[in-house]
Amino acid sequence: MWEKTGFIVLGAVIGWFLQQYRVARSEDIALVNEHIKDIEKFCDAAQAYWLKTPATPEEDIALAAKVRATHSATTLLYPDIGKLCENRQSEYKFHTFDLFNAATGGQFEGHDRTLDAPRAIEIGDASARLVHLLRSNRVYIVSMKRFWKALVDAIYFKISTYGGDKNHF
C-alpha cells in the first residue's frame, strides 16, 4: 500500500517538475519568436533604406532613424538569446554582427550615399541566416538533452559551491 502511494507521489513530483520545465522553455521559445520578428523588422527597414536614393537630406535622416530604432529593438534581447543559443552562441554573434555590419556599414548616414542594391541583398542574406539559426535552435531549447545538461550543471554547481563553502571553515 505505502509502496504504491510512494510511487504515485514520486510520479506526481516528477510530472510537476517536467511541467514547470516545459512552461519555462515555452517562454524561452516565445522570446526567440519575438526576437525573430524584431530581426525581420530591422531587415525590412534596412532594405528600405538602401533601396532608395533619398530625394532630400530629411528623407535620409528619417529612413536612417527607422533603421536605428528597429535595430535597438533587436539589441534588447541580445544577451538573453545568446545564452539560449548556448553551444551555438558564437554562431549567433557572428550572424548578428554580420547583419548589423551589412545594414549600418559602408556609407550608412553618409552625406553622399546612394541606392545600394548589393548591400540590400547582403542584408536579406544575413537576416535569413540569422533567422534560420534561431529557428533551428528552437528544437534544442525544448530538448531533453538540454534538460539533462541543465540538471547536471545545476548539481555540479551545488557540489562546487558546497565545496567552496566548506573551505571557508
Binding site: S72, L76, T96, G105, E109, G110, H111
Partner: protein
C-alpha cells in the same frame, strides 16, 4: 581617464567621416580617442582610457568601425596597445552588443600601410 561618450561627445553619434555630420566616427577618433590614448601611452599605460557607452542609445557600424577600427587600420595604435590602454565600459545589457562589436572591429582591422 573616463570618457562618457553620451555627455562628453553626443548621445546619438552617427556617420563615418566629417562630411557625414558633426558627431561622426572620424572626429571622435581624432579629437577624443587619439589624444586620450596618446596621453595614456605617454604616462606608461598606468591609467586606462575608459569609454563609457551607457548613455548612448544606438550606434551605426559606420561610426564604430571608423572610430575604433580606424585606430588600428590607420596605423595609429596596435591591437596590443589598445588591449592595454582602452576599456569599453557598459552596464546596460542592451548595449553589450556594441561593446562586443567594438572589440571585433579592433580585432579584425588591418593596418593600412599607405596611411599613417
Amino acid at each position: 581617464m573616463i570618457i562618457d561618450l553620451a555627455s562628453d561627445y553626443f548621445p546619438y553619434p552617427s556617420g563615418r567621416f566629417t562630411s557625414d555630420g558633426t558627431y561622426n566616427g572620424e572626429r571622435f577618433r581624432t579629437e577624443v580617442l587619439v589624444p586620450a590614448l596618446r596621453a595614456a601611452k605617454a604616462a606608461g599605460g598606468s591609467e586606462k582610457v575608459v569609454i563609457d557607452i551607457d548613455g548612448v542609445r544606438s550606434f551605426g557600424s559606420s561610426f564604430l568601425e571608423e572610430a575604433f577600427g580606424g585606430l588600428v587600420r590607420r596605423g595609429l595604435f596596435s591591437r596590443g596597445d589598445l588591449s592595454s590602454l582602452l576599456e569599453i565600459r557598459c552596464t546596460k545589457p542592451h548595449l553589450f552588443m556594441f561593446r562586443d562589436l567594438i572589440g571585433s572591429y579592433i580585432d579584425s582591422a588591418q593596418a593600412d600601410l599607405k596611411v599613417g
